[in-house]
Amino acid sequence: MNNQPQTTEQLLDAIRREAAQLELNTQPEPQPLSAEEYSGSMSFEQNLRLPAKPVYHYREFLPFDDEAFVQNAFLCILQREPDSSGLQSYLDKLRNGMEKQGVLAELSGSEEAQRYGVRIRGLKGYRMIARLRRVRALRPLAHRALGLYRRICELPNSEEMSHYRASVLQQLSQMSRQLRQAERTVDGCLHQLEQHNLKQTELHQGIQQELSTVRKQSANLSHKVAYQQQALAASATSTGTKSDSQSVALTSAVVDNMDISAFYVAFEDACRGTREEIRAKMTPWLAYLPKPESGGNRVLDIGCGRGEWLQLLGEQHYLATGLDINPVMVNSCLEQGLDVCAEDALAWLRAQPDASLCAITAFHVIEHVPFELLLRWTTEARRVLQPGGVLIFETPNPENLLVGSHTFYHDPTHRNPITPALLEFLAEYCGYTNSELVRLHPYPEDARVSGNDPLTERVNGHLCGPQDIALVARVPAMELVE
């Protein structure tokens, strides 16, 4: 009792001191905390959450890591949970070494953040660096600035240093202002450039279109001119001795006729395709011919047109003759050095000795002639072809409904579609053997009705099947033995 405490404070102090020395093996009773410190007794989830406030210091976010950090940053700054892509992208950034201050600067600088106006203090430097970072080209600069800034932040906090820090901050802020200006200008330029490019493309397309129209017109015109020149020449020779009145009548008749021919050539030009396309189309036919070194190598092509096939034959060492009733075509072929004349096919065949040709071909010709003529050609060809020789007639395929009912009639000089059955019988009747029908040029795959049930197959067969068909008829080889 000699150490009896005198005042109440002394008494309570003495009690506390004595209590502090008690050795209790029991767990200390948990002491309730004041309201602000309640986080200790909150759930884990609540513990990981920063309270909602209008202003934070960035340091408040630093105790949180990874997902908890991004969650808190979103909740505090954007007032919402992070969307999954946002979460992932910031997690990636953090894991790739971006510092939390940088993330906070980016988030609080975003447009969405402006709506809520939540302020994060202590981020001035990082915010500017984030701005630098937005411009791709300036990222290395931003990186360097960041390093510098971090080093500055780590420097001791003397007055001198804080002056230095302030001046660096000022410089950074000026830089970032200029950069933003530059960014805006560049954006404007890019936009203008894009517009310009768009206009140029449109213009280019227009020019291309016009050019192709002009090309067609000029081709037509040149044909027209060629025919008129020929007609004039012909009338000059044929009417040389006749009276003036006759001359006028004849000339006008010839010129009329020539007009139609000119039209036809222009039409063919427009429809047939380029030389290269035709060469590519004809090449497979070479495989059907007897080899030139296996005996005779003479080939007749009836209706040789611009002579693409003749040229191919020549290259393969065939001796090819072309016939065409169109004088312009004949001229064009002669100019290429091909053996072509305007003689009548039947007359030409009749003039040939027996078994003197290895092949006779006629591509898209037979539908232009009366059947009687076709029969005579076929008969005469049988005589003229050598044993093992081959006769090829290609014609539009009327098995395709669209061909038989529609496309066949594109050409005003076509007579009747010729059916496969007729072709086969014709060959047999005329003494050919081993005849085969080659069906060609089906509609492209994408024109077909989709599906593979029997009905669809049939529809596709009738509407989208081969547009052309060829008779390949052969003279028996054994005649060689005879």
């Binding site: 009792m1 009690i15 004595e18 209590a19 029991t26």
Partner: protein
């Protein structure tokens, strides 16, 4: 054995009841039983929510859950003790006091009449079904007899940390640790301070709803030099506060049981209590282990002066209290034995 222990839970209001519930659970586990607690959330208002909970509890069959047989159910609180089990041991901590001993103090007693009879009927009905009925104290057992005509055996349990209490020379103060509430009647002690002639201080420990009220009263009576509201204290400080007291005052109105009496006895300190304080009266023998006085500030002041005047006698009374505690054989082992005994 598989035991279910039922009680109530008032979220974020923790106190002696939690210690009691956890204490008995722990003791039963130490005795080798599997114990789980089932706690029903309890709201004091409105009374309809209490009625709903009563109905709910009474519908609960706790004899088995998904094929798991429950050997015994031990219930501690109203209305959780309404659940059904063939071997249901009820140890009544206290009843719903607002419709029993505190009913006359209710401001709207008239409106509560119907509710009161529902609760009384419920208690009578469900407690009659119990295979054994205990009360937290003789006081609680007496209420059960008076109000419900039920016989319950008083079963005491030790206060928390009983082994840590110690006794030391007094530093001339009277200690009263309790929640600062009207029923605890700190006012008696504050008013008594006016009449005390001895130079003793009064330390009121704890916090509560009446803190401002009591603070005002202390100032109004001008006893701030003598009476001090010391607020919260740590567990260790509690032991020292008891150990260094001249005596302990514990004069609430009709307390069920009261750990403070036991803690004072364990600390070898005389206890001053009142004639209407309930629980403490089971332990404090006037003039032997303390003083029992009317709830009157002057009488209380006189008792305090007496302690100061003859400190030796005071210390002797404290020692007698300590002995008395030992005599009562109060321990968790005793509690477990009694609760589970078959006879």
């Amino acid at each position: 054995m598989k035991l279910l222990l039922t009680a109530c839970q008032v979220p974020f209001m923790h106190g002696g009841a939690d210690y009691h519930i956890d204490g008995v659970t722990e003791a039963l586990r130490r005795a080798g039983h599997q114990v789980e607690q089932v706690r029903f959330p309890f709201k004091f208002n409105p009374t309809s929510s209490i009625e709903q909970l009563m109905a709910h509890c009474e519908q609960q069959d706790f004899s088995e859950f998904n094929g798991v047989q429950i050997d015994k159910v031990i219930s501690l609180q109203f209305p959780a003790y309404g659940v059904r089990h063939p071997d249901h041991r009820v140890w009544v901590m206290h009843q719903h006091r607002a419709v029993y001993e505190l009913f006359d103090q209710q401001p709207n007693a008239r409106q509560l009449e119907a509710f009161k009879s529902k609760v009384t009927d419920y208690d009578k009905r469900v407690l009659s079904r119990a295979s054994r009925l205990f009360a937290n104290s003789a006081n609680v057992a007496a209420r059960l007899r008076t109000y419900n005509g039920l016989t319950a055996l008083p079963l005491y349990h030790p206060p928390h940390g009983a082994e840590h209490f110690y006794c030391s020379d007094d530093w001339e103060y009277i200690f009263y640790p309790s929640r600062l509430e009207t029923l605890k009647r700190q006012s008696l002690l504050i008013q008594a301070a006016k009449h005390i002639s001895a130079p003793v201080r009064i330390l009121l420990g704890g916090t509560g709803g009446q803190e401002a009220q009591y603070r005002a009263e202390i100032e109004q009576l001008g006893v701030q030099d003598r009476v001090h509201l010391i607020g919260r204290f740590s567990e260790a400080e509690k032991y020292t506060l008891y150990a260094r007291a001249l005596g302990v005052f514990f004069g609430p109105y009709d307390e069920d049981y009261g750990y403070i009496t036991l803690e004072a006895m364990l600390s070898g300190k005389p206890v001053i209590t009142c004639t209407d304080s309930g629980g403490p009266l089971e332990f404090v023998r006037d003039g032997e282990t303390g003083y029992v006085r009317d709830p009157d500030p002057e009488q209380i002041a006189e008792a305090i002066d007496r302690l100061y005047a003859d400190k030796k006698a005071a210390a002797a009374m404290g020692a007698a209290g300590r002995e008395s505690y030992t005599h009562h054989n109060i321990s968790w082992q005793q509690v477990v034995n009694s609760l589970l005994a078959d006879n």
